[in-house]
Symmetry: C2
Subunit: 504 residues, 2 copies
């Protein structure tokens, strides 16, 4: 089903998630779709009245800034008026949203099924009676999990732990990995009293020296454990204490792939050898308990790698008893045209842990049976997510099936890639490396300055896209983004590249 | 207004939070209250039909356990049927809830004002259109923050950052502290390119060796940074790598206080001296950037300390340029009879950072102007909390005022403490150290086994309370828990102590 792409690094088909295994193998794309308001299926709704941010946004941002120090506000949004793929800002501008709240918008704005669910007695109760999900779960929680999260579980993943955001999900995945590493190392011997008593004081042997390996360019979150595995921008890490954990090279693919097969395979081999070397180097001082990787490095610049690299990583981690954690926080939930981007790798052995957040609305991680904690309450958090979000995950899963959203993403991605290729042909010196899978697409500009100018030019024309890495632009629309929206986006983007060049 | 207490370690009055400064100084307790359904004001609703957990809970927990490995489920709850202070479980038992979802239930179950807010178009939009709050906040976000979080900001706290849970709030508070420490150390000199380039690789000087000091018995969360400051139970920490950060003694008060003034003051001096020694010891290898402390150590066993200790800590941290972080995740939001438990200390200089979560529904931290980050996006998270929760914070603040909930808590706490004292008089060998402020009350049993048996005996009689520390029992009801509920709770508790003794 996948169309020709300039770069198609993620390809093939892994076993389909459980719910779709029986329901979808012979399914043709849906011919009937749900009755949706404007902006979900229809395009052409952009309407610009002011600059972005407009005067109302500017005033509100100044007002927010009086008590909020984070300095990252772009515009103020009228979410009640936003619809489908279109975001309406406080100044009344209607924009095509290809950022999707950093890829965390699954079903667009004000989806009727989500509205109905949250207006129901069940939805309101879930919103206002926030439970300790790990102690006193609500009636029906087992069904909610089976119909929602477990119905889209990656093949091989038999357990799921819910958390509040991607960072807490990764932090707890790291804990599951080190706890399992130590249990395996003990090989049936019970935890000693000395271990327990030293742990409470942050001392050996209870708090072991163990490391989580990550990759240059990676982004896995911003809490202290996650931050020790994040290497996309120094701004995230400067002046924050960290762990001395190993960092390996993410393979730098040369494009077009067809012209650089040998070089790219050599780069894969080099990077895999580096992983093995680091595992050996850290074995004595701070053994590697887990390797974490994104299927596509999002924040780091939409860096893709060959499936052969991931196959090699799975083999190496298995050989050394190291957990293989796949961070699908940004790639998961459908933007690649499959629910999980790692399905494109065709792995034989599944990952040990798969982390999710963003498009799933609830965060957490799946894992195999081998990664269960040793004791009750070892993996725990007061809230462990939010049942109101899991209700929305269930609606997301229903819409995925009812509206054939994965097919929609694949078809939209084909149009988007074609449009981006056409722009790259018009501006061969300026627009480079058209790449993507599904609508998880990006281009690289010839300079950071051109990229930043381009983003502003797009914004003023009613197209919201975002930067990643030093000079790239990424698309992260919702799952209803279709071919018409892709045409609309590319038409503006092409015009904006010309304007950005002229403005430099 | 505070009644005589066996232990009254938190006392006095700090400056009132902003909203209540003008509104409440002369206010008598409210005579008129909102029209509330049964269970908010009324007591006597306990009705037991089965053991807890009953057969439906047991079956559902088994079903949940097939895909959920955390092993900490107690019972399954029918939240739609629960009301006010009463929790209704899946088996139809109606129980008086003095746990309040580990102290995170501000307004009881199914409060009509919360229901109305979340059923409104604004509430539904906030639920389903989850924004990147740090980039594209909703219209009215500035008003939401001012009417909600900032209206109850502790005195001296001029900024607020929202996050998803207590752990992410503390993690980011640590970052705000180390970033500020390094900025102060640079004293106006710009960050160097070497610092930026080394930070991205987890190396010096960009990722400095800095530590966060905590206290034995503390609980600050379970992500890796937080866990390095948590020392309440080894189960939380075993097999997880950590930082070599200093841990100081939390003063062990001797009861009754009136009989041990000199010893208790000597203990305060000893612990403060230890803090100073540790700051000096770590100065060369891993300087202390912040000290974090709970006003009352909750998870660690409801350990109280004299205000003099906190005054001393504030003075020492100020002298050494170390951030003073007060973790009000469990104590904040009203259970002490003030919105913030540290208001009872009567500090002259406010804390540098105050962390909140639980009863506020949204999590985050307040801080003074000196702790603003250096660069945009330095403190950031995709979601930064959830606007649906901030709407609920606003309702919470409205009810706090409308229903005079702080007065209610203070009055209920007096009844509760009297009842607990009476039980302690009946069982002088078994029930020890009656203590508390507001309804944040606890007792210590003579053994962990008696405590655990007591909890089960209470549960079977329809009273939900929870353990903390090795042998203590804590009360964490919602803010509508009143004198009648306290009578009901103590009546069951007294009976259950006798039954627990007999059962041992």
């Amino acid at each position: 089903m996948m169309a020709t792409r300039t770069v198609r690094l993620c390809r093939g088909a892994f076993a389909a998630p459980q719910r779709f295994k029986s329901a979808m193998p012979d399914a043709a794309p849906a011919t009937e779709t749900s009755d949706l308001p404007p902006g979900f299926r229809s395009s052409g709704h952009i309407e610009m009245k002011t600059a972005v941010p407009g005067p109302i946004s500017v005033a509100t941002i100044a007002s927010i800034g009086k008590t909020n120090p984070i300095g990252s506000f772009l515009a103020v949004v009228d979410y009640e008026k936003s619809f489908g793929n279109y975001l309406v800002c406080a100044d009344g501008n209607t924009m095509l949203d290809c950022v999707g709240q950093i890829g965390s918008l699954p079903l667009g704005y004000n989806h009727p099924a989500l509205m109905a669910k949250m207006a129901s007695p069940e939805g309101i109760s879930a919103s206002i009676n926030r439970p300790t999900l790990g102690m006193l779960p609500p009636v029906g929680w087992d069904d909610r999990v089976m119909n929602g999260l477990m119905s889209v579980a990656p093949a091989g993943q038999t357990n799921v732990v819910t958390m509040g955001c991607g960072s807490t999900a990764n932090e707890n995945a790291y804990k599951a990995a080190t706890i399992t590493y130590m249990r395996n190392k003990r090989d049936g011997v019970a935890i000693t009293d000395e271990e327990m008593q030293s742990a409470i004081k942050n001392e050996l042997p209870g708090c072991p020296k163990l490391s989580i390996m990550s990759f240059h360019g990676a982004f896995h979150g911003r809490t202290l454990g996650c931050l020790a595995t994040t290497h996309s921008k120094p701004d995230h890490k400067i002046d924050v204490p960290t762990f001395d954990w190993p960092i390996a090279s993410f393979p730098a693919a040369k494009f077009p792939l067809a012209d650089h097969v040998e070089e790219n395979m050599a780069e894969v081999e080099r990077c895999l050898a580096e992983v093995e070397t680091l595992i050996a180097e850290y074995a004595a001082s701070c053994p590697v308990a887990a390797v974490i990787i994104e299927p596509i490095q999002g924040e780091g610049g939409d860096n893709h790698a060959l499936p052969e690299f991931f196959h090699g990583l799975r083999a190496i981690t298995k050989e050394h008893g190291v957990a293989f954690i796949v961070d699908e926080v940004q790639t998961g939930g459908g933007p690649s045209g499959k629910i999980w981007a790692h399905e494109h790798w065709n792995l034989v052995d599944p990952p040990d842990i798969v982390v999710f957040a963003k498009k799933l609305q609830i965060a957490g991680y799946y894992h195999t049976d081998a990664f269960k904690p040793t004791m009750p309450y070892q993996i725990f958090n007061t809230w462990m997510g939010d049942p109101a979000k899991l209700l929305q995950t269930e609606v997301y899963v229903d819409m995925l099936e009812q509206d054939a959203l994965l097919d929609n993403v694949t078809a939209a991605g084909d149009v988007l890639i074609s449009g981006l290729q056409s722009i790259a042909q018009d501006f061969p010196e300026d627009v480079l490396n058209v790449r993507g899978v599904g609508t998880f697409c990006s281009i690289t500009l010839s300079s950071p300055k051109l990229r930043d100018t381009l983003l502003a030019q797009c914004r003023s024309r009613g197209l919201l896209i975002s930067g990643c890495g030093p000079a790239s632009v990424r698309f992260r629309p919702c799952l209803y983004f279709n071919g018409d929206h892709a045409h609309e986006a590319c038409s503006i983007l092409g015009e904006a590249v010309g304007a950005a060049k002229a403005a430099l």
